[in-house]
């Protein structure tokens, strides 16, 4: 690791992580760490195990072996909602929006720690709850405005265009207030202008103190955005480094960039 990144605390650390599905070794003895305050990219061809790594981190899958540390604390084996509560937010390749909820409700449902989300509290009601509901709505509208979705607040998520849906998914992720953001192919299917917009937002988030772990297929984006790159192939880490090092790594060119020398 280069000196600048070495000095940083690892917000996330994977130690000898393995996961198999039947006979397939999806993730094999994988170790890497994500330095805090960086954009770290996880790259590799289809089936390299990238999304599986995300699912292991977020507790959607349980590892067969190995440990996952967040800020030095083990989060291995925690259920997804507990992993999210310690500060890991994720977006999904397939978006997983709440389709038949309005854009506003998609964001509102993501805001953490609402007392009104308990049945007993909502039956009792009271001024505090009404105040909370007002605050939730105002914050949600702010998030939508910031994403240029202000005019779509009452539109059902499923009725938005694909680009708008991608933005809404990002908004939901931001509303969840995670410290580490796991983004699974956030730019796929976006127009070049929207890709630029995404890159600008990603850099902005890092400046605000977030850390991003990114799965991305677009090589240009990976190279321009990443502070650190981890290359996976068939469940194993085959290389890591700053973008320049990875670009020059021959085996990477073979397996990922598709360049034969």
């Amino acid at each position: 690791m280069n000196p600048e990144l070495r000095g940083r605390e690892a917000i996330l650390e994977l130690q000898a992580l393995s996961k198999h599905f039947g006979g397939l070794l999806a993730v094999n003895d994988l170790s890497f760490s994500v330095p805090a305050g960086t954009i770290t990219s996880l790259i590799g061809g289809n089936g390299a195990g990238k999304t599986t790594v995300f699912n292991l981190i977020t507790g959607n899958l349980a590892p067969d072996a190995g440990r996952i540390l967040f800020h030095g604390q083990s989060i291995t084996g925690l259920p997804p909602h507990k992993v999210a509560r310690v500060g890991v937010a994720r977006s999904f390749q397939e978006l997983r929006l709440f389709n038949r909820l309005s854009a506003l409700d998609n964001i509102a449902a993501a805001l953490p720690q609402q007392r009104g989300e308990s049945i007993v509290a909502s039956l009792l009601g009271g001024a505090r709850l009404r105040e909370e509901a007002r605050r939730t709505e105002a914050e949600s509208r702010d998030v939508l405005e910031e994403l240029t979705l202000g005019g779509q607040a009452d539109t059902l998520a499923e009725q938005l265009s694909y680009g708008q849906q991608k933005l809404l998914a990002l908004g939901r992720l931001l509303a969840a207030e995670g410290k580490l953001l796991l983004l699974d192919e956030p730019t796929s299917g976006l127009s070049p202008a929207m890709v630029d917009d995404f890159c600008r937002r990603a850099r902005q988030l890092v400046q605000q103190g977030k850390t991003i772990l990114l799965i991305e297929h677009n090589v240009e984006i990976v190279m321009s955005l990443s502070d650190w790159i981890i290359v996976m192939h068939q469940g194993e880490k085959i290389a890591e480094g700053v973008p320049e090092e990875v670009r020059h790594n021959v085996s990477v060119m073979h397996t990922y960039l598709g360049i034969t020398s």
Partner: protein, 290 residues
């Protein structure tokens, strides 16, 4: 006149059952077919307490609700860990277990059920008349409507719908899907149990057939025909779907065929709505888009 009152009473009870089930099926996406069993628990607890202890309305209804919740939790703990069709199959299993229990247990009177159940006492006053009992059932339906409306329009209602749309996404936001499902299960069971109590007092005799799988399917038919995710729809469907088969009684149809005709009628409605009008009579879509 008595007949009209009886039908109105039945409509109120079924409206309560449909609303309580709609919270699970329509709002949370939990397709449960144990509702008749849970309702039966409330009915049997009330009958046994009234026969052996006291027909005090508030006390027995409260205990009926508590019993329904308790049984519901036994169903919930394993079943809520399953998704979609697996959840449905698990609730089907529990429905059949509950029906077998009602059918075979000594204290439930087996297939004959329990009869000669005394009229309820409200603050020491006996409620004998059909009108009085109808008023109780309508009162329960109104309470159920008011509370369910409050829940569904609050942040917890939004979370229920979010669970229906995508559980994985909800848990990725730091919210426990199990806790949400669990609490709505309890809420739903309270009203199913209370409806069972009022059913027992209305008929003063109960038998297992009223709490069979057929009955569970009838209740879910109300939810689907009325519109999943719409409380108004559940009430409307209860009115229409109780009235129509009742009206058929005035047609020259033999008594032996009538109950089967009702099932056929419900079955056709279920298929028809699933095919041609998924949102039901009053769908959530209209609510959202209005």
């Amino acid at each position: 006149m008595d007949y009209v009152v009886y039908v109105a009473n039945l409509i109120a009870i079924y409206a309560t059952l449909a609303m309580s089930l709609n919270l699970l099926v329509g709002y949370t996406g939990l397709i449960s077919i144990t509702q008749a069993g849970v309702y039966g628990i409330g009915a049997y607890i009330t009958a046994l307490l009234a026969l052996n202890f006291t027909p005090d309305l508030l006390l027995t209804t409260l205990l009926a609700a508590v019993g329904a919740v308790a049984v519901s939790l036994v169903v919930a703990v394993p079943a809520l860990r399953l998704r979609n069709e697996y959840f449905l199959i698990a609730t089907l299993g529990f429905q059949n277990i509950l029906f077998s229990v009602f059918m075979n247990l000594g204290i439930t009177g087996g297939p004959n059920g329990l009869y000669g159940i005394p009229h309820p006492l409200l603050f020491g006053m006996e409620i004998r008349s059909g009108v009085g009992k109808m008023a109780l059932s309508i009162g329960l339906a109104l309470i159920c409507y008011a509370l369910a409306r409050r829940v569904t329009r609050s942040p917890v209602g939004r979370l229920l719908r979010a669970v229906r749309e995508d559980e994985t996404a909800v848990s990725s936001l730091g919210k426990s899907v199990f806790r949400i499902k669990f609490s709505i299960f309890v809420f739903s069971a309270v009203f199913a149990g209370a409806a069972g109590a009022l059913y027992t007092y209305s008929l003063t005799a109960i038998d297992p057939v009223a709490f069979s799988l057929d009955e569970s399917i009838s209740i879910i038919t109300l939810v689907i025909v009325g519109g999943t995710g719409s409380l108004n729809g559940s009430v409307l469907a209860a009115i229409l779907l109780i009235l129509l088969p009742e009206a058929m009684k005035f047609l020259p149809i033999a008594d032996t065929v009538a109950p089967q005709l009702r099932q056929i009628f419900y079955g056709l409605l279920l298929v028809g709505f699933a095919r041609f009008r998924r949102q039901g009579l009053i769908g959530e879509y209209q609510d959202v888009l209005k």
